[in-house]
Subunit: 225 residues, 2 copies
DNA sequence: CCTCGATGATCAGAATACGCATGGGGTGCC
DNA sequence: GGCACCCCATGCGTATTCTGATCATCGAGG
């Protein structure tokens, strides 16, 4: 796991970093709120440990700010303040857990790992990738093995949905609801047609097909079988 | 959110339930470990509050059991034991958070909501497991001892039903109603045929058969006998 | 211990449902 | 008006399901 520590007490920070590294994680450290906020917004972490009292930008503010920006990385707030109200404030600000100093390292480790376990996938992604197929959501482009693929709007949405659920079987109902926003069954082969067209573009010129039919169930996007 | 409370102290449980309901959640309660485990495995919750000390099945055991079954519902463990070692044990067992009694309700609420927030998008029970046989409902895949098994749609539904009722005897009528949605008896050996085919795929290449005939009653999925 | 009826297992062909490709018509946008 | 794009209908090929016949097994009763 990649973990960011924002803590002004040098010694405490070093101690924490050492322990987390020994447990097999990758650690970045920031010694004040400003640097911390910068790292938190520019890098991707699986979890963050944030001290509540910080020079510059305060811990709670950091959490509120990154949450406001849509970042959902789990945050463990560290504080000397143990009163219930303080804890509630910490959690309300968007913290996922709250630990009072002094704490035992074993507990912090257990909690951080519990948090991380829960969310390995959270950031609002801008690129999707499945095998050699890549989609850039911002640029609205798709390419496979470097070769550009030109898709119509509906085909794009369809492929996006399939990619977001790669490995899972996606039912027709799911597609109607999420790609077409139909909340009923149109009783036509609408989906089949679009899948067919998508296949022409995505799988036709390649050895390994990615779109697979799961008879009686739906479709799935994945490597083999 | 749907929340399950497993707590033997009637008063504490009622108090908790009341508070959570007032905060807009739906609450189920279990007064002992056995009932709790039953609800936890048969129903779907967004979060669970589990007392550590319980008559019958103990709190940690419950958490370990549901985790072993692939259930990832967030769990908040409640305990009178506040020592660091106890907390670490609680989190290691698969708990997502740990709160020591006496606690303030506001804090518990904040923590539960922090846990729920994190996984509201979590999948509704996605894997079934019986002995060495595993089924992934999302990917629609089945494997036994790591070896993939390829099933047709009806066979898949049939096996799913058997797995969801593992250990119980499943009658032909139950199968007709739930797997075929027939509400009458087709007067053919329809079911026998499909069970036969399923056996070929599930039991044929393995020492230990899992599908057993219960003469005059139906079928059952379990280890021996 | 053997026999016989009832219950369950297996097999293969027939019936069915499902998914695919294609072309045409409609709609809305430049 | 022309162009994209999207949706619908058709017919075809095939995977899946169901049926009915035959064979195996079980257990009660003589």
């Amino acid at each position: 796991m990649r973990i960011l520590i924002i803590e002004d007490d040098q010694e405490a920070s070093a101690y924490l970093a050492k322990g987390l590294k020994e447990a097999g994680h990758t650690v970045d450290q920031a010694g004040n709120g400003t640097d911390g906020l910068f790292l938190a917004t520019t890098e991707r972490y699986d979890a963050m440990v944030v001290d509540r009292m910080l020079p510059g930008v305060d811990g709670l503010t950091i959490v509120q700010t990154i949450r406001g920006a849509g970042n959902t990385t789990p945050v463990l707030i560290l504080s000397a303040l143990g009163k219930v109200d303080d804890r509630v404030k910490g959690l309300k600000a968007g913290g996922d857990d709250y630990l009072v100093k002094p704490y035992a390292f074993a507990e912090l480790l257990a909690r951080i790992e519990a948090l991380g376990r829960r969310t390995s996938a959270s950031q609002p992604e801008t690129r999707l990738k499945v095998e050699d197929l890549e989609m850039d959501l911002l640029a609205r482009t798709v390419n496979r093995s470097g070769q550009d693929i030109d898709l119509q709007p509906r085909e794009f949405r369809l492929l996006e949905y399939l990619m977001r659920h790669a490995g899972q079987v996606v039912t027709r109902t799911m597609l109607l609801e999420n790609v077409w926003e139909y909340h009923f069954d149109p009783q036509t082969n609408l989906i089949d047609v679009h899948i067919s067209r998508l296949r022409q573009k995505v799988d036709k010129d390649f050895d390994q097909p990615l779109i697979h039919t799961v008879r009686g169930a739906g479709y799935t996007l994945r490597a083999q079988r």
